[in-house]
C-alpha cells in the first residue's frame, strides 16, 4: 500500500513537473517577440556560453574523434574495409555523436551554471529587486539565456564536429599514412545535405532544451541555499534526459524523410 502510494506520488510529481515546464516554455514563446528586447544581454550571454564552453568542447571532440578511430580500426582492418574509415567516422560524428556529446557536455556545463546562477539570484532576492526596478526578469534573465543556448549550441556542435574529425584524421595520418587532405576530401564526399540538416536542426532543439531546463530549475528555485544546489543538479539530470528524448524523436523523424 505504502509503495503504491509512493509510486503514485512520484508519477503525479513527474506529470506536474512536465506541466510546469511546458507552461514555462509557453511563457517563453509568448514573451520572446514582445518588446523591449534585451540585445545587449543576449550578446553577453552568447559570448559567455560560447566562449566558456569552447575549451571543453575542443578537448571532448578531439578525444572522441581519436578514440572512435582507434577503436574502429582493428575491426575495419579485419574486414579489409579500413579505407571506409573517414566515411564511417564522418557520418557517425556529424549525424549523431557530435551533436549528442556536445549537447551533453553543454548540459553539464551550461544548464547547471544557469540553474545555480538563477537559483542564487532567486534566494538572494535579486530577481525580486529586478522586478521592483521595473525590469521584467523573465525577459532579461530567462529569454536571453534560452536564446543564447539555442543559437550557440549549433555553432559549438559544428566546431566540435570539426575538432573530432581532426582527431580522427590525426590517427589515420599517423597509423594509416592517410594525408589530412585525402581524409577530409573523403569525409566531405561521404556527407550529404541530408546528414547535415537534421543534425543542425536537432542541435537548435538541444540548445533550447538546455536553456529551458536550466532557467526553469533556477528561476523557481526554493528552500534557500540548499535549493541552489538542487536546482543545479536537477537541471543537468533533466536536461540530459530531455536531450535523449529529443534525439530519439529527431532520429525517428529524419529516418522517415530518409526513406522517402
Amino acid at each position: 500500500m505504502g509503495e503504491t502510494s509512493t509510486l503514485f506520488k512520484g508519477v503525479k510529481e513527474f506529470f506536474i513537473e512536465i506541466g510546469d515546464l511546458s507552461h514555462f516554455a509557453a511563457r517563453f514563446f509568448k514573451e520572446v517577440l514582445k518588446p523591449p528586447f534585451e540585445f545587449k544581454e543576449l550578446l553577453r550571454q552568447c559570448y559567455q556560453m560560447g566562449n566558456r564552453s569552447l575549451i571543453l568542447v575542443t578537448v571532448t571532440g578531439f578525444i572522441i574523434g581519436l578514440v572512435l578511430t582507434l577503436q574502429s580500426r582493428p575491426t575495419l582492418i579485419q574486414f579489409g574495409a579500413v579505407s571506409w574509415m573517414p566515411n564511417m567516422v564522418g557520418i557517425s560524428i556529424v549525424r549523431e555523436i557530435g551533436p549528442v556529446i556536445t549537447a551533453l557536455i553543454c548540459a553539464g556545463r551550461i544548464a547547471s551554471g544557469i540553474g545555480a546562477e538563477l537559483g542564487s539570484m532567486r534566494v538572494t532576492e535579486q530577481i525580486d529587486a529586478m522586478e521592483v526596478s521595473g525590469t521584467n526578469p523573465f525577459k532579461y534573465l530567462v529569454i536571453t539565456r534560452i536564446m543564447a543556448t539555442t543559437l550557440m549550441l549549433p555553432i559549438l556542435v559544428i566546431y566540435g564536429d570539426l575538432v573530432a574529425l581532426y582527431g580522427s584524421a590525426l590517427v589515420e595520418n599517423l597509423k594509416g599514412d592517410v594525408s589530412f587532405q585525402l581524409y577530409f576530401n573523403t569525409v566531405f564526399d561521404a556527407l550529404s545535405f541530408s546528414d547535415l540538416v537534421p543534425a543542425t536542426i536537432k542541435s537548435f532543439f538541444f540548445g533550447f532544451a538546455i536553456g529551458l531546463v536550466g532557467c526553469y530549475k533556477g528561476y523557481y528555485s526554493k528552500k534557500g541555499t540548499a535549493g541552489v544546489g538542487v536546482a543545479a543538479n536537477t537541471a543537468v539530470v533533466m536536461a540530459s534526459l530531455l536531450l535523449f528524448v529529443i534525439d530519439f524523436i529527431a532520429v525517428f523523424i529524419s529516418d522517415i524523410f530518409y526513406e522517402l
Binding site: E117, S120, E125, Q126, A129, E131, V132, S133, T135, N136
Partner: protein, 264 residues
C-alpha cells in the same frame, strides 16, 4: 485573541497620526495564505506623507509578505492595497512598473546584482525610467550623487563581492534612491549587521528622509532601530495589526505580547 490598544493604552489612530497629511500607503483587510499557513489575517495600515512608520513582528509573522504586497511581488488573497492613491492589484504591468519607480525597496540581504559592478547596479533601475529622470545618455552624475549620499562614491567600479555587509546595504540604499522615490520600503534594514554599522544605516535612513522628504515604511524586529527611527509603530502579531502607537506608548504597555518585543 486580539489585543485592543485603545482600551489599554493611549493609542493614536492611524489616520490621526504623524503629520496628519495625506496617506501614501493604505492597506485594508489584507489576507494572504500559503496553503494552510494563514500569514495575514485582515491586516490594516496607513502610512502618511513624510512619516516614518515601523512595523514590528516576530520572524515569520508576515512582515515581509505584507511589504511585498505593496510592490506587487506577492498577490494578496483579498483586501485592498493602495500606494500613492493607486490600487496595486488593478494595475496592468506597464502602470505597475511606472508606479514602482516611485517606490524604493531596500531588500533584507541588499539584493545587489552579483554579476554587475556597483555602477551597473545603480544604472540598472534607470534603464526603464529614463524619461522620469530626464536622462539621455550620461548617467554618471546621478550614480555619483546617489553614491555620495551614502558615502561610497569610491566604490563605483567595485563588484558587490568586494564590499562588506554594511557597504552592500549602503549601495543598495543608493540604488533605491536613484529613481528619486516618494516612498521607501525597508525590509529589515539592519539585519545581519553589527551594532555600529546598524547605527550608521539608521542615521543614513534618517538623513535621506530629511533630505528628500520621503515617506518610509520600515519592517524590522530590531527594537533599537524602531526606537530611533519610528514616529509611529505597528505590532504585527498573528497576521493582524495587534497594537499601534508611538515607541514610548508601546514600550510601556503591560500586554504580555507587546511587552515581549521590548524585553531586553
Amino acid at each position: 485573541m486580539s489585543f485592543n490598544m485603545t482600551d489599554q493604552d493611549q493609542i493614536t489612530s492611524s489616520n490621526e497620526s504623524a503629520q496628519g497629511g495625506k496617506a501614501v500607503i493604505e492597506i485594508k483587510d489584507l489576507y494572504k495564505s500559503f496553503g494552510d499557513n494563514h500569514v495575514l489575517n485582515g491586516f490594516n495600515m496607513t502610512l502618511m506623507e513624510g512619516e516614518n512608520l515601523v512595523v514590528m513582528g516576530k520572524s515569520g509573522s508576515g512582515k515581509s509578505v505584507m511589504i511585498k504586497c505593496l510592490v506587487g511581488l506577492v498577490k494578496p488573497d483579498s483586501g485592498t492595497v493602495k500606494v500613492l492613491g493607486k490600487e496595486i492589484n488593478s494595475l496592468d504591468q506597464q502602470k505597475l512598473d511606472e508606479l514602482r519607480s516611485d517606490i524604493g525597496f531596500l531588500f533584507q540581504g541588499s539584493a545587489l546584482y552579483d554579476s554587475m559592478t556597483v555602477r551597473e547596479n545603480l544604472e540598472f533601475p534607470m534603464r526603464r525610467h529614463k524619461e522620469k529622470l530626464g536622462v539621455v545618455a550620461d548617467t554618471e552624475p546621478l550614480v555619483r550623487e546617489a553614491l555620495d549620499n551614502v558615502g561610497l562614491a569610491h566604490t563605483m567600479d567595485l563588484m558587490p563581492v568586494e564590499l562588506s555587509g554594511g557597504m552592500k546595504r549602503r549601495v543598495a540604499l543608493a540604488r533605491t534612491l536613484i529613481l528619486k522615490p516618494k516612498v521607501i520600503l525597508y525590509d529589515e534594514p539592519t539585519s545581519g549587521l553589527d551594532p555600529i554599522t546598524s547605527k550608521e544605516i539608521i542615521e543614513l535612513m534618517r538623513s535621506i528622509q530629511k533630505k528628500y522628504g520621503t515617506s518610509s515604511l520600515i519592517i524590522t524586529h530590531d527594537v533599537d532601530c524602531a526606537r530611533v527611527i519610528s514616529e509611529r509603530m505597528i505590532l504585527l502579531v498573528d497576521g493582524i495589526n495587534y497594537a499601534e502607537g508611538t515607541y514610548s506608548q508601546l514600550s510601556q504597555s503591560t500586554d504580555p505580547k507587546v511587552d515581549a518585543f521590548f524585553k531586553k
